[in-house]
Amino acid sequence: MEMAQHIAAYLFLGIGCLLILIGGFGINRMPDVYTRMHAASVSDTLGAILVLFGLMIEAGPTLVALKLAIIILLLLFTGPVATHAVARAALEVGVKPLLRTRDGKPGKGIIEPDGSVTPWKD
């Protein structure tokens, strides 16, 4: 029983660490600030959740596990707000996003709900 608990915990910790590593790797590979944020979000959502969940399993049914659950919730509530703030600040100051269509052609601008395209203004 003890053994199964450790194995499950280390499995979650391992996958979580791997995701955080992949996120860091992605930040280095992506070409601009916006796409880099997508890579970072792999680390700070599922990566962080899995690491903390692994620690919860290792802690067992204790108060520590509850506190770790609160940390997970805290990260899930604050993370997107911070990400949104960075993305919005980048747009506000006019950091030009690299846009591309599915077949590799340069994108023209913002796609509106009715399908028209608003060109990106410098």
Binding site: R29, H38, I111
Partner: protein
């Protein structure tokens, strides 16, 4: 009513963080929780945005669904990062949000940002649209289809 819910939430938070269950410490927790709720009430900070308790019931089904969306989206982005060709098609798209309340709009925008591969970069509450940056055109079009939008609106309906 909302103030009472805030007192209970704060007390529960105190009990989880404390771990020492003596009369003195629990009593101090009760007094602190009531005092904080009273201050917040005086500041008029307890409203449907300050302490949206009615959203808790719907969260039981919404959060697991969102978690599964995060898992699927993470897998997609991991594949992109690890592919040698770095197959990205960054797209800016404006999507419609059908939520009525500001909390609902907030939850939708945060859910978009939480799922890897899409980020809500700007919000407009006047015409209820969210500017989304997606790492692939497929991801952008999937968001524009509005599965998550409908899900959040249904969740909003349960919070009434």
């Amino acid at each position: 009513m909302r103030a009472v819910a805030l007192v209970l939430t704060l007390l529960l938070f105190w009990l989880v963080l404390s771990g020492h269950y003596t009369l003195w410490l629990i009593g101090a927790g009760i007094v602190s929780s009531i005092a904080i709720a009273a201050f917040a009430r005086r500041m008029a900070a307890i409203d449907d945005e300050g302490h949206p308790v009615e959203w808790l019931v719907g969260a039981i089904t919404y959060w697991p669904w969102l978690l599964w969306e995060i898992v699927k989206a993470t897998w997609d982005v991991v594949k992109i990062i690890l592919s040698p060709r770095l197959d990205i098609s960054p797209t800016l798209i404006r999507v419609k949000a059908s939520q009525k309340s500001s909390v609902g709009l907030n939850i939708y925008a945060n859910s978009i940002t939480l799922t890897p591969g899409t980020i809500s970069a700007a919000l407009s509450s006047t015409d209820s649209t969210i500017l989304v940056h997606a790492v692939t055109q497929d991801g952008a079009e999937a968001t524009a289809e509005g599965t998550m939008d409908r899900r959040v609106t249904a969740y909003e309906g349960r919070a009434k």
